[in-house]
Amino acid sequence: MSFLIEQFIQLLVFLNGIFGSLGWAIIGFTVLVRAVLLPLTVSSIKAQKQLRDLQPELKKLNKKHGKDKQALQAAQLQLYQKYNVNPLAGCLPQLVQIFLLIVLYRALLDFLNGGLVSDEALQFGWLNLAQPDPTYALPIIAAVTQLLLSLMIAPGAETPDLVSNKSKDKQIKEANEKEENTAEMAASMQQQMLYIMPLMTGFIAARFPSGLALYWVIATLFSLGQQYYISGWGGLTSYYQRLVSRFK
């Protein structure tokens, strides 16, 4: 691990030499890391989008096979193959990601605190990259971009629907009610998550050296761009419309 951290620090020092400024070095570093990961990212986001589109089909399968888990899995697999969905699944990639996350964090922190660069190089605009941002501008940007990302990946105002509520069958009515309840609960959970994460991002970004916050902001912007490229504005449109209609 320390070997990897060392390599990343070397890369940062190298980029610092090229750009002549630590701030640009961190921005270049972020873009570089994300560019390397781009192929993985694109295929994974595409698969996620397909999965979301296939959700009704998956629900049908769930109903059809119910308790027979093996048949359900086989049917799901068939569905995925039919639509050529290949979601990146399993915890191994996540473990690698978490490991890399720690490496990146340590490398950036060591780099900023290690006295490897001069004090002038640490100055980036109004920021001293080794210190938290005293103006709170960067934390606010971090929170706002995170909120935009939240809204974009939020499923928006989709409501699940199985059989129309007009049906006289009592069982169907009950099933619909139950489904609405769980959907509402999931939606409210997501609603909370929608705002908690940006708030936490802002607070944490205010405490950390602004070099780290800068990295986070650039990474978020990159994610925003990717998300837009692959699935458009997503939930952002419905939230925007709701907001507009409220002020009409």
Partner: protein, 65 residues
């Protein structure tokens, strides 16, 4: 009790982990199994007790890679 509290804690923290990974790397992975391992573990511990239930959950975790 403790095992279940740990599972609940994981479930509460999991969305944040997802979001952090999504922000930094641009993607995360989906669960391989349905229901998710943590839900499965909860159920197994309720039905079979902490020791047997945890062992079953561990077996399932190991089959996800």
């Amino acid at each position: 009790m403790i095992a279940k509290a740990l599972i609940r804690f994981y479930q509460a923290v999991e969305p944040f982990k997802r979001r952090i990974l999504l922000t930094v790397f641009g993607f995360t992975t989906e669960c391989k199994h349905q229901p998710t391992c943590s839900k499965y573990a909860e159920k197994q511990i309720t039905e079979h007790g902490t020791i047997v239930g945890s062992a079953k959950a561990l077996g399932r975790l190991l089959s996800c890679w």
